[in-house]
Symmetry: C2
Subunit: 418 residues, 2 copies
């Protein structure tokens, strides 16, 4: 891997440079809006939904939340990880490339590195836990990578990676804890801000600030008395947070733009290591969670932590339950008809169900509300896996989910992704 001492500084211009390097290899994935999901997020939660939270007994928040979904599930390999992988390879020397690359990954990074290596015509060695999703193992092998199976602890994985390096001389491309990966993942934020601006330019009513925008543009219609110019950017972006490569990259990309950046992680059995670490003032180096958001089972990496723990760059991190993840997933899949994996929807789940976040939007966004970019990070799951997730949850949580989370009930989308 490129020597960390020689990598570009972690700032917006470096993300722009990374984007130039990789854009020939990646899709500019679509940004979608959804009347239905924005309406649901702008509907107060039921008082029962606040039971067991610090907001119990208080009036539910009334935020106005207007989504712009960056659909990285439509990215090559079905997830954003291809951005970091291509950027990492673009920074290797000819000599390094000739030795091939190696990594450990339970899924999307494995496929990403395999495809990027195939594109560069070099060998890829991938260490995967034996418990990885079979479809992800098959996909990685399908891109021509050599797959090695390890136990699921990080010690076991790292030992095997060291063996592979000793045997082959391959260069390590870690899944998130490296500046080149972080800068590569951050490129999605540049596209998101640009695409949201394009959509709003084409149809100003897509922004919550359109009345003020009109006024700012000299077309005041007298309805608004505000003299504050409308922001020319998204009010916030929420991204899933596992190892933190994507979230820190997005925070760097949007630093100084006026857009607030937030992280979203699962709370199940300790996967909310970033939230806990921020509360304690120090990074938590190990996580052992089997959350259904399987891309987010890792602790935040050391370099991402330096960004994520900087409140000027990442304003906050929220955690959601398994039940909230499933509920958000059901909405995205059934209403928007967009197929996503559980890890992809933690950001939507925060906007829909985290009362702390919702109060913040109500307080700061006021009557107008916020334009909120949300990353749907990937779509690599199977219909069988989906079936199992919802078969289990249907039995255990049906009544509870309906009562607590079921705003909109079972209604099918009227207005889907537009």
């Amino acid at each position: 891997m490129a020597d960390i001492a020689k990598t570009l500084p972690l700032k917006r211009s470096s993300v722009q440079s990374a984007h130039e390097n990789i854009k020939q290899h990646i899709h500019r994935t679509p940004v979608l809006t959804s009347t239905t999901l924005s309406r649901l997020a702008s509907t107060p939660q039921s008082p029962e939904a606040l039971a067991g939270t610090p907001f119990k007994g208080q009036a539910p928040a009334r935020p106005k939340i207007n989504f712009f979904f960056k659909c990285e599930n439509y990215q090559r390999i079905g997830a954003f990880k291809i951005r970091g992988a291509f950027h990492a390879l673009s920074k290797l020397s000819e000599e390094e490339l000739s030795r091939g690359v190696v990594t450990h990954s339970s899924g999307n990074h494995a496929q990403a590195l395999a495809l990027a290596a195939r594109t560069y015509g070099i060998p890829a060695h991938i260490v995967m836990p034996t418990i990885s999703t079979p479809s992800k193992i098959a996909a990685t092998q399908g891109y021509g990578a050599q797959v090695y199976f390890s136990g699921s602890t990080s010690d076991e994985r790292e030992a095997l990676v060291r063996d592979v390096i000793k045997d082959t001389g391959a260069v390590l491309v870690p899944p998130y804890d490296h500046p080149d990966i972080i800068l590569g993942q951050g490129t999605m934020a540049l596209e998101l801000e640009e695409q949201a601006a394009e959509l709003i330019k084409e149809d100003p009513t897509l922004s919550v600030h359109h009345t003020r925008r009109q006024a700012t543009n000299g077309h005041a219609d007298g309805i608004t008395g505000s003299h504050v110019p409308a922001p020319a950017h998204l009010d916030a972006v929420i991204a899933p947070l596992g190892g933190g490569g994507m979230l820190s990259g997005i925070a760097i990309a949007l630093d100084g733009t006026g857009t607030s950046v937030f992280g979203a992680e699962p709370s199940f059995s300790g996967a909310d290591d970033a939230r806990r670490g921020l509360a304690d003032g120090k990074r938590i180096p190990a996580v052992k969670s089997l959350t259904i958001a399987d891309g987010l089972r890792t602790p935040v990496g050391e370099i991402p932590w330096t960004i994520i723990s900087d409140a000027a760059k990442v304003r906050g991190v929220y955690a959601v339950t398994e039940e909230q993840i499933l509920s958000a997933m059901k909405l995205v899949v059934e209403r928007m008809k967009v197929f996503v994996e559980p890890s992809a929807v933690v950001g939507v789940a925060v906007a829909l169900y985290d009362e702390g976040f919702r109060r913040l939007v109500e307080r700061e966004g006021g009557q107008e509300g916020w334009d909120v970019g949300v990353v749907l990070s990937g779509g690599n799951t199977t219909v069988e896996a989906i079936g199992k997730m919802f078969a289990t949850s249907a039995k255990e949580g049906e009544r509870e989910r309906k009562g607590r989370l079921g705003r909109g009930g079972d209604r099918v989308a009227e207005d889907v992704a537009g």
Copy 2:
């Protein structure tokens, strides 16, 4: 309903007129391509896949099939039916509108009429079989319609519709067997041909005919020796066929354009009534099938039959098994990340698995192959329903599906919808 004697003639210009009438109310749904699905469709089936078919023991066909997917799952209410409903209402008189509308439907037409009626500010009365999908019942009620439950035979439904008409004076808007509905559904074909042309104009390599197109445009590169100009239209369009409103509308819309139109239906327990009817030379008036493609359980209507049985308008109808429908659905959902209902994928299943169709493409398309428009007609199902479909099939058919249908195995999409 508008008197049939007064409706527009069933021809292309009437579809264009219908499109003008409804386009303010509908989405111009996206047309997507998929490198992965086109590659799979252009890969010969295994010899085992032909066992039990008339092609058993013969060499599998080697067609080149290049898909353009018209994604009506992203339509309002999640299915194409909204087109016909809005067109039907646009043709009613003020007096008729004031009486409200009534229909019987097991699903998407019910929601479509309910939403169109709400838009027009008139009452909608919907007769649904008690066995309808709960999400579809809830959605219909969610649009403000009055739902009446009947038994599942057509006699029972029709009796209840007559009762509602007697009680309320409402005007009947049938789900498919009426010229206004047919012309409305046909509007999607106008968009599909226009959008495919736009995509190909932007990136000529998206068409299988791009080499010839270049030659035709005076940029001959010497690779092709052909002097036949490239067609300026899709070679074929395949659409699902239940009552036949959509298929006959598409056939009328594309009549005279040079695009061949084909129908696709499920074969399970007699749902292939159109194919059987065409073989016998007469329409089959009743069907009793519980195919998973629940939108396609109805017999072809009388008026659609006049179009579908005209070989100059519809070149052929093919039928696919439940297993083939599930396999196509798995590919569309997992590879393209596009969430669809089973009825939506019968056209894709024909292109992937019907050896008769594949031989036709090989024979007529030759080395270049065909640009094939396929309608993905709707996306109104639930994650729980998907879970059940694939849980059952996983147990019963896993080995068989892998052996016979599993081209590409379990690989996750490299290049998804673009």
